[in-house]
Amino acid sequence: MPKCETRYFGTIAFDEPSVIVFPAGLPGFARCRRFLPLEDPWRKPLIFLQSLEEPHLCFLALPIAAVEPAYQLKMNADDLALIGLERHPEPGDQPECWVILAVGEDHVPSANLLAPVVMNRATGLAVQAVRDDSIYSCRHPLSRVEVSACS
């Protein structure tokens, strides 16, 4: 079983089929293509998107449904083709969709709803699908989720 160095979990073994590939990298990280999605049972539903090329690079992400249950995915034709989807996912298709988290200088965690990571389970290919509209924010504060989830 191949092994890799990770940012949060030391050196771990992984199996090749669980690797996801970004054929175009991610904006700002065009050369990082192979990632391993990791979970920590104590930190569910957090996803650790660990780069296999850069041990120090690990994006923290959440399933989009956990952050914004009514999120309406919108991908352009280039992004669909890149990950081998023949048509735009319908609400029932549930492709794997994650949002990348960041923490601003104000220490408030936020989620990038403007550019979700979409993974085609059938091909293991993924893309960070940057929307060309501005319905969603790239710094959606996660404290707002708290309010909606409790109501």
Binding site: E39, K44, L60, L62, V67, V103, A115
Partner: protein
């Protein structure tokens, strides 16, 4: 801002080596073709914005800062899935 009017099939040239051609226009969209040297990075503007966001997201994040958010999301997911209140953890994937 420099404003130039062009029709489909016409081009502009930037710095003598970057050509932007208007390929097609519709009432709501313009299709552009760009010919540029390999070392010139061409991206949609919003992709450039996301690159900056990703660089920020790749910086060290204290997991402790996320703990309250995760606890709340996990509880919400569990009660949605099982119809019961938090306490039952979802099975490991």
């Amino acid at each position: 801002m420099l404003v130039i009017r062009r029709r489909a099939g016409e081009s502009i040239l930037i710095a003598g080596e970057i050509e932007v051609e208007v390929l097609e226009t519709t009432p709501t969209r313009v299709k552009l073709g760009i010919r540029a040297p390999k070392e010139v990075d061409v991206v949609r503007k919003e992709v450039g914005l996301i690159a900056a966001e990703n660089l920020s997201a790749a910086r060290e994040i204290s997991l402790d800062l996320l703990t309250p958010v995760l606890a709340m999301l996990d509880q919400a997911a569990v009660s949605q899935e099982t119809g019961t209140h938090a306490g039952n953890r979802r099975p490991e994937r």
